[in-house]
Amino acid sequence: MRTSAGLLEQATDRTLVERCVDGDTRAFQVLITRYGRMMKAYAVRLTRSSADGDDVVQEALISAWKRIDTLEDGAMVKSWLMRIVSRRAIDLMRQRKDTESTDDAIIEAPERDGPERKAEASSQLGALSAALDRLPHGQHQAWVLREIGGYSYEEIAEQLGQSVASVRGSLARARATLVKEMEGWR
């Protein structure tokens, strides 16, 4: 006989969200299994740190559980979770910036230098990843939100608390740098 955990893995996002609203923690665990890796990857890319990525996803998931009853359409849970990750990551980066009062142009050394990163370095993707890591903080965030997160300029402006014109400026500078750095890979 199949276990109920196995049954739940077949549930649609909508059913899982409905169960979470009713307090079924097992349904939430299935959501974590389904989208946790995607959330982590996005959080690490946004924060440029594996440790910060873990913290961001953890906070995002706890926050999601608390207000999952505000999600109108359970079928949208994936993008809803990713949006919470975006917000948490941006908040964290903003706090960092406030406490360290670093200039936007100063780039912190990324922590993501594990074996998989080194293996990537020889590829075109690795070159892009490295170029992204060298971008100033604001440009980097705008680019990741746009190209990885898939948000509109308006949404990015709202999330970053900036004007659309400012977001466009950051993105243009980021793209100019990336295009230049990727010249050798054509």
């Binding site: 409905e18 307090g23 993707l125």
Partner: protein, 205 residues
């Protein structure tokens, strides 16, 4: 804006008169309507090609990032589950009728929902979504309505499956609670694929 791009700058001979921002917009609207000042400029075309190449790498980068997250740490998940477990959604206390002991026995709304979900787990092809108890469950003997949404396994007979589920719920609530259920409203709001079905299809092929 494109002064960082190698090659002639804007206004220089052979340069592209458009900034990165404008060229990106052009790319994102699939180069329509056609703009000859971009289409006929080799330098603009060169920058467009580079922009397109970087953009095309975004999806593979996302996939590679996800692949690099090999597995979620089980302790880390356990920590989250413990944390959300403290945010209990127990709901109202529902009394038992036959508690002549001095200790008033109750069952929580959350536990009743768990019973309904369990009834779903025992009914082949049913996954319970929401379960709402309507009425004053805190008053012994007060008739209540139960509203349940369910997802049905693909290919299952909806009428038959719902009927079986209805019997399971009634039996379970009768056994474990003193609730007087005046009506059980079941809404099928989703369909899901079951592993067995997928397996059978695979075997046939």
């Amino acid at each position: 804006m494109n002064t960082d791009i190698p090659g002639p700058g804007p206004g220089e001979p052979g340069g592209c008169a458009h900034g990165i921002d404008a060229l990106t917009d052009y790319l994102e609207r699939d180069m329509l309507p056609a703009d000859p000042s971009i289409d006929d400029s080799p330098e603009c075309q060169r920058i467009l090609r580079s922009l397109r190449r970087v953009r095309a790498l975004a999806a593979p980068l996302r996939e590679a990032d996800e692949a690099a997250v090999t597995a979620l740490d089980q302790d880390w998940i356990r920590g989250i589950m413990e944390n959300i477990g403290r945010e209990a959604k127990a709901g109202r206390d529902i009394p038992f009728a036959a508690s002549d002991d001095d200790a008033a026995l109750v069952i929580t709304e959350g536990t009743v929902r768990g019973l309904v979900r369990g009834a779903g787990d025992r009914t082949p092809g049913v996954l319970v979504g929401r379960c709402v108890l309507e009425g004053d469950v805190t008053v012994i003997g007060e008739p209540i309505m139960l509203h349940v949404t369910v997802s049905i396994g693909w290919g299952k007979s909806v009428a038959e499956t719902v009927s079986l589920f209805r019997e399971e719920v009634a039996a379970s609530l009768q056994q474990h609670t003193d609730l007087v259920v005046a009506g059980l409203d079941i809404v099928v709001d989703d369909l899901h694929f079951e592993a067995d079905e997928i397996g059978e299809v695979g075997d046939d092929a």
